[in-house]
Assembly symmetry: C2
Homo-oligomer: 472 residues x 2
Amino acid sequence: MGARTVLTKNQTMIEKLQTIVGETHVKTDADSLKIWGCDWTKHYTPAASAIVFPASTEEVQAIVKLANAEKIALVPSGGRTGLSAGAVAAHGEVVVSFDRMNKVLEFLPLDQMVRVQAGVLTGQLQQFAIEQGLYYPVDFASAGSSQIGGNIATNAGGIKVIRYGMTRAWVLGLTVVTGKGDILHLNKGMAKNATGYDLRHLFIGAEGTLGFITEAEIKLERQPRDLRVLVLGMPDFNSIMHVLAAFQARLDLSAFEFFSELALQCVLASGNVARPFPDATPFYVLLEFEALSTAVEEQAMQVFEACMEAGWVQNGVISQSETQARNLWRLREDISETIAKFTPYKNDISVLITHVPAFIADIDAIVQANYPDFNIVWFGHIGDGNLHLNILKPANLSKDEFFDKCQVVNKSVFETVQKYNGSISAEHGVGMTKKPYLGYTRSKEEIAYLQAIKQVFDPNNIINPGKIFDLT
Amino acid sequence: MGARTVLTKNQTMIEKLQTIVGETHVKTDADSLKIWGCDWTKHYTPAASAIVFPASTEEVQAIVKLANAEKIALVPSGGRTGLSAGAVAAHGEVVVSFDRMNKVLEFLPLDQMVRVQAGVLTGQLQQFAIEQGLYYPVDFASAGSSQIGGNIATNAGGIKVIRYGMTRAWVLGLTVVTGKGDILHLNKGMAKNATGYDLRHLFIGAEGTLGFITEAEIKLERQPRDLRVLVLGMPDFNSIMHVLAAFQARLDLSAFEFFSELALQCVLASGNVARPFPDATPFYVLLEFEALSTAVEEQAMQVFEACMEAGWVQNGVISQSETQARNLWRLREDISETIAKFTPYKNDISVLITHVPAFIADIDAIVQANYPDFNIVWFGHIGDGNLHLNILKPANLSKDEFFDKCQVVNKSVFETVQKYNGSISAEHGVGMTKKPYLGYTRSKEEIAYLQAIKQVFDPNNIINPGKIFDLT
C-alpha cells in the first residue's frame, strides 16, 4: 500500500509537471533518468524521479511553485560537465534541465552585450560572439557541452583567467527564479548600478542552491589579435615563479599555464603531438600574449633572453602560426584526457601565487612520505594560483584500494590548503564531493551565514538541497 | 529626570567605548560631532552622539558587541566624501571612524596584491602602487580624501570604468565585522575560489549596512603607458554614439567621457583652461587610450578621420605631451567644481548605452516642458552609460523654491529611468537621499530579499540603520 501511495503521488506530480511544460517535455524512462541524473562526477548513482524541460522563465517559476506546494526537491541541470556532483540527482529529486532554453535572445552592439537563455552552450556563445566580430573569453575543455547557466552557477574559470577573470566578470545581469518562486531581474545589464546589495553576485557561484538562473546578460569583448604562444622548459619549480614575474612586468599575458615532465610524457604517449624541443626539463610553462606590434614581440624576446641568462629557462619555442599555436596549446590541454586511463585522483585547489612553491613542496613531501609508489601529475593555471593535483593509480592497486588511500591523502592536502589560507575548490565548486571539506576554506561562522542566506531564498530547502552544505 | 537618565546612560556608553579604544580616541565635542557626523551631502543636520576611532579589527568587533548589548546604532565613516548621505549620523548614532586604520599592511609582488586597512586613502593607495611600479586604476575627483573602505562599501566607479571596471573588480579579499559581531575573512585574496556564496561581493556596495569593512586585499595592475587624450567636438548627441562604436571597434579605450557646450562654458569661465579648439559645438567627447606603438596611434588617427568624413566629428585635438593630456582632462574634471556656484541639483543615473540617446531626449523634453527656465548641464561617463544630470538654479529662484521644484522633476527623472530599466544611482549609492526612490530600480520582491539579508547579518539593526531601505 505504501509503495502504491508513493507511486500515485509520483504520478500526480508528473501529471502536474506535464501540465506546466507539455506532455512530451517530462521524461521518466530509465535511460533519461540516468543521463540527466548525473554529471561528469562518477561517484554517485543517479536516482532522479523525473526530468522536466521547461521552455521559459515562467515555466520554471510554475515548477518551483509546484515544488514548494508539494515539497519536491529540484536539481538544476545544465551541460552536466560538473566535477563536484553539484548537478547530480541522487535522492529522488526532479531534475530541471535547461536543454530547451537554448536561445540567444538579443544582441546590443553599443553595449557589446548579449542576452541569452541559461541553456545556451558555452561554445555556442563563443561562436555567436565571433559572428558579431567580438569575443567571449571564458574558455575551458568542456566548452562544447557546458551551458552558460551552469558556468554562472559555478563561476567557471578556465585557461584565460589571468587576463579576463572568471565567468563572474562577464555577467552584467541575471534573471532568476528564487527557491521561493520569485522572478528577479538582477542588475539588468548595467555597467554601473549602486542601488543596494548586488544579488547577481550572490547567485553567481551558488551552484543553483538559491534558485534557478534562467537568463543572463553577458558582456562581450574585442577579439584578441595575433596571439603568440611560448612554451618554456625550466630546471625547477622556483624558476617558474621568476619567469612569471619577469613576463608579467613587461607584457599583458592572456595565459600562464604550467605542467610537469610527467604530464608531458602522458600527452606525448598519445602520439598526437611532438615534444616542443628535444631536451626534457622537470617543468614547462605555456604562456600566451597578443603581439599587437613588433615592439611587443621584441619585448617578449628580450624577457625570454633575460630568463635564459638567469638560468630560469633552459629551452623555449614560440609559435610562428596559428596552427603552431594550437599544437603548443595541446601540450597543456590534452593532459586531462591522456591521464584519464591512469584513473587519477583529482583535486582542484588554489593558494596565493606567492605560496605556490612552498605549497607544492609540502604536498610532494606528504605524498612521498606516505605513498612512495604514488605518482603526482601537477599542472594548472599557475598565473592565478590554481593547481590541478592528479595522483595516478599504481597498476598494482585496485580502484577501491586506491581511492580509499586517496581519501586519507585528501585530508592532508586540505590541511595544507588551510595552512596556506587557500581554497579546497578553485573552480570546480563544492557540490557533494567537497561538501565534507568546506570548513577547510570557510570558517564555521561563514558557513552559518551561507546557511542563513540559503534559508532567505529557499525556506523550504527545495532547490538543490544537500549541495555545498547541509542544513542543520 | 528623563534627560538626566539619558545623560548618564550616554556617559556610561562613552566610558565603555573609551575602555575599548583608549580615552583619547572617543570624541564628543561639538566640532567633532559636526565634522565626523556628515558627508558631502549637505541636506542633513549631523547629530552624532560620539565619534570613536578604533585601531584594529578586534577593537571594531568590541564596539559592535557593545552596540548589540546596549542597542546603540553605529555609522561607519571613511573619508566622508559620499553624495547620498550613506555615512551621515543624523539620529544620535555613534560614528565609527577609520581615520586611525590607515596602514598598508603587506605587499605581495607575485600576486600584484596589497593588503590595506580600511582607512587608507584612495590617493595613498594609488601612490603606494606607483612606488611598486604598479597601478591602482580606480580614480575620481575625491581620491585625495576618500578612503578605500568607503570606496568598497559604495563600489566606487569613476573615470576609468570603461577599461578597469568598478572598485568591485579590484577587491580580492575583505576582512569584515558583521552586525552580529563576527569577524569574517572573505575570499582571502584568491583569484579563484569556488567554495559557496561569495560574501565578499555582498559587502561590496552594501554601504556599511551589513557590517564594517576593516581590511581589504586589493589587486594592482601594470601602469598604463603613453596615454593619449583626444577631445572631439560633435554636432549632436547621436554622433557621440557613432564615435563610441567606431573607436571601440579598433582601440582599447581607458576613458570615454562626454560633456555639453554649457558644461564647457562653465569650466572656461573659471579662466584656468582654454577652449580645446576655436569653434564651439553642442557636445564634446574626451577619450583616452594607450599608444603602445605608433601603429596604435595611426589606427586612432584613421578612426578620427573616418568620423570626420561621416560628419560625426567637427573638430578634434590630440595631446602631444603629458601636460597637454592633463589640461584636456581638466575640461571634463573641472565641471563639478565650476558649476557648484549655480547650486546645481545633481542626479547620478545610468541606463544601457543603447538607450542613452532616447533617455536624454526624454529628460530634456520633460524639463523643457515643465521648467523652461531651467538649464541642464549634462556630462558623464557615457562609455558605461553613466550620466550626471545637473540642473542649474535660475538666479531668480530661492534655493528652497528651486529644490522644491527639483523634487517634482526628480519623480519624472526616476520614472524615465524606470522606463529604460536603468539605475537611480549609478555610482553614488542610495544612502538616505535615494532611499525613497529605490523602488524605481529594484523590484518590491528584490527589496524584500535585501531586507532579509540585512537581518541575517545585523539582526538588531545596529549598523547604519535607515540607509538604503528601512526595515518594516
